[in-house]
């Protein structure tokens, strides 16, 4: 970086080789610019290093400014969709499912949404509401997206959705279903292609009630979603609940709770353990020998994400869901088949919802013939839900939450020897969520 000055007269006596060696020695003696020694010599050397360092800092700053400026160059035409999900961290696997499904949807649409070129900007919310909101702001103000979609977690959704709809942009949620947004806080610009959180446990409650089961032991993590799941379950299950046990969020070892459970001798167990909590609970439940003795019914616990990790420990467990890979309709067969071929694993409901979300957006843009400024037209088109959903028949309730069937699923060994979910029967037909009457919208 620094060059030796042209040889002074004192050096002219030395030969070329000696000069170069001197050069090298002086070079190696030079302090690396990044280190700070408090005993620096005052004077010439210090200011020179300061200059070099200052230059470096200015260069880096220029580079950063340049980066931002570069990203600020707007591409005018295409449809822009902002997709917020959790891509890093332990929940990153869900984000991967969603992102892969979005990519497949785009592929099926020929990389055009409503006939226009499309650009999808992904954001990683790290499961934090304030990061999610920052991402939404970035997508709305910097990238000027036409739609915001995605979001796994209810608390992130509650921070993001009002921001998006408040800015006049359409939000298409593809997982989180907090009851506030289905009820009092419903909005013309907010749609969800998934469900309202309570619908799934309601279906399980209904099934178990219809089966005449009683003496049920309920378990869930001690947070808002956990409590919602149990209360949704009890909305339709009127039998005797032996005990309601809430465990610490993120807990890994359930041996103590399983011992308690065995002591209470219930006839059935209902649990809600998403993510890694579910994997741990299922394995430990089976290892305790309870799987064959007390049937396990769950929601959001046994799915295409946890099955590969637990394997046969989940064999015979029941779930309720609005969708399963083996749901028989043309769109779903295409989705699951192509997904397996392209990505090499079985898609989950997180993916199916995200796939449907993109198709929904496509139907809206097509209906207004690409006039992205016509928000009212797009909303009207979305309400019609004129697209081929992976769940078959698709219609929206007044609060823009789907009215859909719910099925009983069972974890069985598939034809290939791997574990998979299979539909056993229909529990609910055209089931509406419990909060739509609080929503003031009418159409």
């Amino acid at each position: 970086m620094a060059h030796l000055h042209p040889p002074t007269r004192a050096h002219s006596d030395l030969g070329q080789r000696q000069l170069r060696r001197l050069d090298g020695v002086l070079e190696s003696r030079r302090l690396p610019a990044a280190s700070i020694r408090t005993t620096q010599w005052p004077g010439m050397r210090r200011t020179k290093e300061v200059t070099v360092r200052q230059l470096r800092i200015v260069l880096v700053l220029l580079l950063i400014v340049g980066l931002f400026a570069g990203q600020a160059v707007l591409a005018a035409e295409p449809v822009k969709i902002g997709f917020i999900t959790s891509l890093s961290g332990p929940a990153g696997i869900i984000g991967k499912h969603m992102k892969d499904s979005v990519e497949l949807a785009l592929e099926h649409l020929g990389r055009k949404v409503g006939g226009l070129d499309v650009e999808v900007i992904y954001g990683d919310d790290q499961r934090k509401p304030d990061v999610g909101k920052q991402l939404a702001d970035e997508m709305l103000k910097k990238h000027k997206v036409n739609f915001v979609s995605g979001i796994i977690w209810s608390n992130v959704m509650l921070a993001v959705a009002p921001t998006v709809t408040g800015a006049g942009t359409i939000m298409v949620g593809t997982n989180a279903g907090p009851h506030e947004l289905a009820g009092k806080m419903c909005s013309e610009l907010y749609f969800t292609t998934s469900w309202q959180n309570d619908q799934t446990p309601e279906a399980m409650g209904k099934y178990m009630q219809d089966q005449g089961l009683t003496d049920v032991y309920a378990m869930a993590p001690n947070y808002a979603a956990g409590k919602d799941m149990v209360s949704g379950f009890k909305r339709y299950f009127k039998g005797r609940v032996v005990d309601e046990v809430y465990t610490k969020l993120g807990q890994q070892d359930y041996q103590a709770e399983i011992s308690q459970l065995r002591g209470k001798n219930p006839k059935a167990v209902f649990v809600f353990y998403p993510g890694d909590m579910g994997i741990q609970f299922l394995k430990q439940y089976a290892q305790a020998g309870l799987r064959e003795q007390i049937p396990l019914y769950s929601v959001y616990t046994v799915d295409e994400i946890s099955l590969p990790a637990v394997g046969e420990a989940a064999l015979g467990n029941y779930e309720t869901r609005y969708w399963s890979p083996d749901l028989k309709n043309e769109a779903n067969a295409k989705y699951v088949g192509d997904f397996k071929k392209k990505f090499g694993y079985t898609p989950s409901f997180y993916g199916a919802q995200s796939y449907d979300g993109i198709l929904l957006i496509d139907s809206a843009v097509r209906a207004v013939r690409g006039d992205l400024g016509n928000k009212k037209g797009m909303v009207a088109a979305m309400r019609k839900a004129d697209f081929r959903s992976t769940r078959g028949k698709f219609s929206f309730n007044v609060n823009h939450t789907p009215i859909q069937n719910f099925y009983l699923l069972r974890a069985v060994k598939g034809a290939g020897g791997d574990m998979e979910m299979q539909i056993q029967k229909t529990v609910f037909e055209n089931h509406k969520d419990a909060y739509y009457q609080e929503c003031p919208m009418k159409w």
Partner: protein, 307 residues
């Protein structure tokens, strides 16, 4: 009062405590002897779990998988020590916190890059998947009994190594007065690297044993890391005995709290209030315990002697 249930829960508490001890032993060694705050200890636990699981799924032999995981993590631990941590011994604890925090981020992502973000499939080895009739009516999973045995064996081994062997003597001397030991001609740097690797291997053993019953996914070490810090603070930093006692105490308190706090509360404040208060209080229990211990005995239960 169902006494059989209480006994069973005590057994569960012991097993959970032993699990914590495997992690705590390594951490307290490194902290006590080398004065290094190693937040990445949980990451070494995770790496051990991943390696053991991958090896087990590949070879089908649990023993071989655990041995492999121990050896590989030992090597990785020593490598990390040489590359990143060696210069940090003299630095402020906070610099160590920052550096090891950076290591956590790195390991979490590295593991996700190699094995993907989905949780790995793990299962208890067939030979250990049965149950032992510890007491009439209590079928205790054999695998968990093995964990207790392994943990106690490790405790014994550590005791023997630290107090009866030359290596242990060097470790204790180095903890007491590092400079003096160096002046006497012992290669302190090599010693520290070996101790760190040893600590990493202990963490890996914890991870390898935990794999079949917990889930193996990126970031699995963080939840347990906090509990392990609580253990070593309660037990006394630098003391293996403290780690064992602290771990068993924490394991018992946590397990018994989760099992019996709600039923006990509901007799006092009614079942529906206990439904809310019980779990909240149970999750805070080990922190309350730690605060209490620190209030009366700030250096922990069995502090190691330092000069």
């Amino acid at each position: 009062m169902n006494w059989l249930l209480v006994v069973e829960q005590c057994l569960n508490g012991l097993q959970f405590g032993v699990m914590l001890f495997l992690m705590a032993a390594g951490l307290t060694l490194v902290f006590g002897i080398m004065n290094l705050v190693n937040l990445a200890h949980g990451s070494l636990y995770m790496v051990g779990a991943y390696l053991a699981t991958a090896a087990f799924n590949r070879t089908g032999s649990f023993l071989a998988a655990v041995a492999f995981a121990l050896a590989a993590t030992l090597a990785i631990g020593m490598l990390v020590e040489v590359i990143a941590l060696r210069t940090l011994y003299e630095r402020d604890h906070l610099d160590q916190v920052l550096a090891t925090f950076g290591l956590i981020l790195f390991f979490n992502e590295a593991v996700a890059i190699v094995w993907g973000r989905a949780a790995l499939f793990t299962a208890v080895p067939r030979a250990l998947s049965g149950h032992l009739q510890v007491l009439p009516g209590i079928p205790y999973p054999a695998y968990r009994a093995v964990i207790i045995l392994v943990g106690l064996a490790v405790a014994l081994l550590l005791y023997v190594v630290v107090s009866r062997t030359r290596l242990g003597m060097l470790i204790r001397a180095g903890a007491s007065n590092r400079t003096m030991v160096g002046a006497l001609g012992v290669n302190i740097r090599l010693l520290y690297t070996v101790v760190f690797g040893f600590g990493a291997a202990l963490a890996a053993l914890g991870g390898a044993m935990a794999g079949p019953i917990y889930s193996v996914l990126p970031g699995m070490g963080e939840e347990i890391l906090i509990q392990v810090f609580v253990v070593i603070v309660i037990g006394g930093i630098g003391s293996i005995r403290g780690a064992l006692v602290g771990a068993v105490v924490v394991g018992m308190v946590d397990t018994l709290g989760r099992a019996f706090l709600k039923p006990m509360l509901s007799t006092v404040i009614g079942p529906s209030a206990a439904d809310n208060a019980g779990p909240a209080l149970a999750s805070m229990l080990i922190y309350i315990l730690m605060a209490a211990v620190l209030f009366f005995r700030p250096q922990g239960l069995f502090p190691a002697v330092r000069s």
